[in-house]
Symmetry: C2
DNA sequence: TGTTATAATTGGTCATACCAGCAGACCAGC
DNA sequence: GCTGGTCTGCTGGTATGACCAATTATAACA
């Protein structure tokens, strides 16, 4: 019987209680995605609290991604989405910037797995989609449209991960992709020559997927990630040199 | 130029603006963990908004795990923690229970990577620690202390992931481990015979780590995860049968 | 010096009021 | 028949001021 018994008593705020109640209704299926909740004033009256408490509860639920508030229209239960998850990750990563390499390693592990799964399960439509994304990226490389290249890159990885039919890995990978945004932008800006290499690497991944050649696929993904790693290091060096020159 | 231009215009609320401002102060280091923020009334006056708006902002920041509110004492910037991250995962998982297998696959990919990295970098102390955890688990298996087994299991995986020297993978794995808590409990409860198997699998992983034998390590981890998968399926079947009997 | 009573501070809650934007109904004009 | 304008009630967003309860700081006391 120990220590934990003397922790401070839980101090419920009304808004937390309201959060619990509403969350419970969502969990139990009484409120399905898209359903409209009663107006704030009604909620306040029904739960017997002031409107301000309800509003604070709504902010919390909003942060959890459980509801969507549309001014003038009402409050709606939300389609389960990865939004909140990504935000939480982004918050966590915000303070771990120096660990880009660690992050990349995690992403490599996940994407490797996603790719091998995708090789077993990918549909012809998805293969075509990937092919068109590669072609599109190649044209962007020619025209020098960086933002287009980035869009294609992201779409390629998204499609690939979704093809794994593992939504967790897809969500997680997408989150990590977001987290690497800054590094990616820096690489593309500082090292223009990587753009064409990127397209080639995507094409290699695509070909391996087409052949269902898993060893080749693993090589292609590993190479892709490794070259990104190298590029990041290079980009960091270069911007440091420039920093020295300018400072 | 396209489509994205016609998304709905952003609609700022004052509380969101306040969140941004305060978050910015935390990000930039002006507010360090443990620092006390001005009282709500001061914040309201300084930012030129009503106290109610500030309070809504505080609920959001609280949900993000960036601050801690102590009634009567004040508002404090919080030590960065994975708390919010885990909550976000828990929320996400709440509606995706059927995807336990997907989750397990993601964890397998990560832990595989963590283990191979750990094989290169693990210290003797950590190896000893793992050994003692395995021994401890074996004794718990004998005495039938389920909660002890679970503790050892968790500590084993934690130590292993930390030994990878990739904090990111370690955090991620720990989060996924938490997410599988329910399934794990169910397995241990419904299938008591898996307990000794678990200890053996851990010992196999430990031995492979000791020998720095990466192929054997990969086999051991894969086997460990695979047997957990099977056990979950079995546990689900059994509890469904019981459900049929009782219903 | 150490303890206790008291005051000030601070978050939690409530009530009320007003504004701005949405939704739907209704109507005129092409 | 469709478009666009207008009106109206509802809904969320914001502000204000008040009070409570718990914490903290302060002063008074033994």
């Amino acid at each position: 019987m120990g220590i934990a018994q003397w922790e401070p008593l839980p101090r419920y705020r009304l808004c937390d209680a309201a959060v619990d109640r509403i969350r419970q209704m969502i969990d139990s299926g009484q409120l399905k995605p898209g359903d409209r909740l009663p107006p704030e004033r009604d909620l306040a009256e029904r739960l017997g609290v002031a409107r301000s408490s309800i509003r604070e509860a709504l902010r919390i639920l909003e942060g959890m991604g459980l509801i969507e508030v549309r001014p003038g229209a009402g409050i709606f239960a939300r389609e389960p989405s990865e939004q909140a998850l990504r935000e939480a990750w982004a918050n966590w990563l915000r303070r771990q910037r120096e660990q880009v390499m660690d992050l990349l390693e995690a992403r490599e592990a996940l994407e490797l797995r996603a790719a091998t799964r995708a090789a077993e399960r990918i549909s012809l439509e998805e293969l075509e989609q990937l092919a068109s994304l590669v072609a599109q990226m190649e044209s962007y490389v020619v025209s020098g449209d960086v933002s287009g290249i980035v869009r294609c890159d992201r779409a390629f990885h998204d499609t690939l991960c979704r093809a794994s039919r593992n939504q967790f890995i897809a969500t997680l990978s997408a989150t990590l992709y977001d987290a690497l945004d800054e590094a990616r932008t820096s690489v593309f800006t500082v090292l223009p020559q990587v753009r064409s290499a990127l397209a080639e690497e995507h094409r290699a991944i695509l070909e391996a997927l087409r052949q269902r050649d898993i060893p080749a696929l693993e090589r292609a993904i590993t190479y892709h990630m490794e070259s990104f790693r190298k590029d990041i290091r290079k980009a960091v060096e270069i911007s440091q040199e420039r920093g020295v020159e300018n400072g």
